[in-house]
Subunit: 347 residues, 2 copies
């Protein structure tokens, strides 16, 4: 067992301290940021604090062969922002831990940080602390993000009621289609990129949706402030899996109308070109970072009117049913159980 801060072996650490200072903005309530044993924050009164954490491991969640260091940082930031979006919270403070292998140089580290802070820029999240370590093999990145809402006002997974409508923001399946476009296929000893007959505009759109997703932070805050949603979760594991989480927490069932699923023209085109069902992509693709939420039918016109006014994209995709109904998908008047899909892994 060794010294806890095994810092001195890594020449990049002074660099990280520099980067950390560069990105450490003075945020409301921040008493002491980087540079002491802990960061210190003074919460404003009448707030709830929302704390989320995500661990990303090289070879499991990302790979430097297919993703740039910048996009790895960016996606890590968005994954956490998306969790706060699903609570309706305003993102405020971030702590970042990095375990850095010898294979990475300072340029990689700068790009990872820069991607991460790009993701956080719009919401003015302050980097208030972190830890760095050497890693024997592979990069590990852990982010803890703290956000706030007014007290007694947040979006939980557990609030859906029978009869509520099920909504989703944006479009589904794009990220998975983008992943498949960039992932090499192994043919014997060679690994090659799949050749899919797809316009370069569609390819760019899908690949960008994969590498630069947008957490629906503004949409989450809108739903929470206006008290329009009864429950919410972000689509990080895929609609099929995340709807299941929401239904379990709310102790309800659900019926999804397959024809209503919002699928982008690019994802539709990819599906046809690759011989894959776009619906399957929409149901199982993770990392779209859209919001899945439920709302009372009486809120329908207000949700759809306000969304149009504010430029948010929301689609009603089904209805909450009693628990005994299970989780079903319907198409052309027929229903069948929504398959329990396993996640698609990198390796």
């Amino acid at each position: 067992m060794a010294n806890r801060k095994a810092n001195s072996t890594i020449q990049e650490f002074p660099l990280i301290r520099g980067l950390a200072r560069q990105f450490a903005r003075h945020a409301p309530g921040l008493i002491k940021g980087i540079g002491d044993d802990a960061a210190v924050v003074e919460p404003t009164s009448q707030t709830w604090w929302h704390i989320t954490t995500d661990l990303l491991a090289e070879g499991i969640h990302f790979d430097f062969k297919s993703a740039s260091p910048q996009s790895i940082g960016y996606r890590a930031g968005m994954a956490n922002l998306s969790d706060l979006a699903a609570m309706g919270a305003v993102p405020r403070y971030m702590v970042v831990s990095l375990a850095i292998p010898k294979t990475l140089n300072s340029s990689h580290i700068v790009k990872i940080y820069s991607g991460l802070m790009d993701a956080c820029h719009h919401d003015r999240v302050a980097l208030i602390g972190g830890d760095t370590s050497a890693s024997k093999t592979g990069l590990f990145l852990n982010i803890t993000l703290i956000g706030t809402t007014p007290t007694q006002q947040a979006l939980f997974r557990h609030g859906a009621h029978v009869g509520d409508l099920i909504y989703v923001t944006g479009t589904l399946g794009d990220s998975l289609a983008g992943l498949r476009l960039v992932l090499p296929v192994h043919r014997g000893r060679r690994s090659i990129r799949r050749r899919i007959p797809l316009s370069s505009a569609h390819q760019r759109f899908l690949i960008d949706r994969h590498f630069h997703p947008t957490a629906r932070v503004a949409e989450g805050q809108w739903l929470n402030q206006q008290q329009l949603a009864s429950a919410a979760i972000d689509v990080s594991d895929g609609l099929s899996g995340d709807l299941r989480h929401l239904c379990e927490a709310s102790r309800v069932g659900a019926e999804i109308e397959i024809e209503s699923l919002p699928i982008s023209p690019a994802c539709q085109a990819y599906g046809h070109a690759a011989g894959t069902s776009p619906v399957q992509l929409a149901l199982t693709g993770g990392e779209d970072y859209e919001l899945l939420f439920t709302a009372a039918p009486s809120a329908r016109s207000m949700i759809e009117h306000q969304a149009r006014t504010r430029g948010y994209h929301v689609t009603c995709i089904g209805t909450i049913r009693p628990k005994r109904f299970g989780i079903q998908m319907s198409s052309g008047g027929k229903t069948q159980p929504l398959p329990v899909t396993s996640y698609e892994h990198f390796h």
Copy 2:
């Protein structure tokens, strides 16, 4: 780039969810613990929040060859508690991320968690969230701990003034001596344990200080509540390094009296038996998790009286000097610069 939650490959995850529920106690202010996109907490008014994070990597900070899974979890918890102790904060909430390699089975994971929660038991820290992932190689453990103090009342590194006395809790060097007792020595292809002529009681004491250190949480709260200390830091990198951090933050110098360093009889005996200077162990040994703090000379009698009454062990080891004095150690009327030591690494 793959699905963010690469959970399904690891059979231990249902186990972890079970463990997490088992350890999730209802803490004051906790609105929603494990099971949503974020944990939710309602801060009490007039509090400062202290946030600290630590990343521990297999092969860098610990190794399963010399440490048990239980002690790895325990030490990880203590490392974080020690950071909050140095702020004078009351530890409250914890989020834990684990990246788990295939080489670990469920029994390992249970023991790591159990060690971690043992460390947190006394302070009734609530486990409120976390993340789990597969790992290609090696265990990674990231802990974020949140604690509180009253507003405007915390121990920082930056408050030391010229003339202040320098104190340390407990004894120094024990953890490093314990590490050396358990670390094998490589002789050609063989690795063997050093044979040190030391009583088994001393050996047990030192090894226990290494594997089961005690963060000085109560001492930190006492110093903060009674406003006795002008600055504080925990001794995690070694006295020499951590004193340097405190002096840099306070923009002062320091003079340490070598004869005053609190060294346990076991560490003294180890030094003599191993042909190592106990003073060197005390100056450079990390992970003792004692508190290093400074106080105005006028507080001396109150500190020493209250420490005796409460059963806390504190020792005055020197004086804060002007910055131009540098950081010196004095012995028998002579002073010399305190060496800038590099940390002792596992490999």
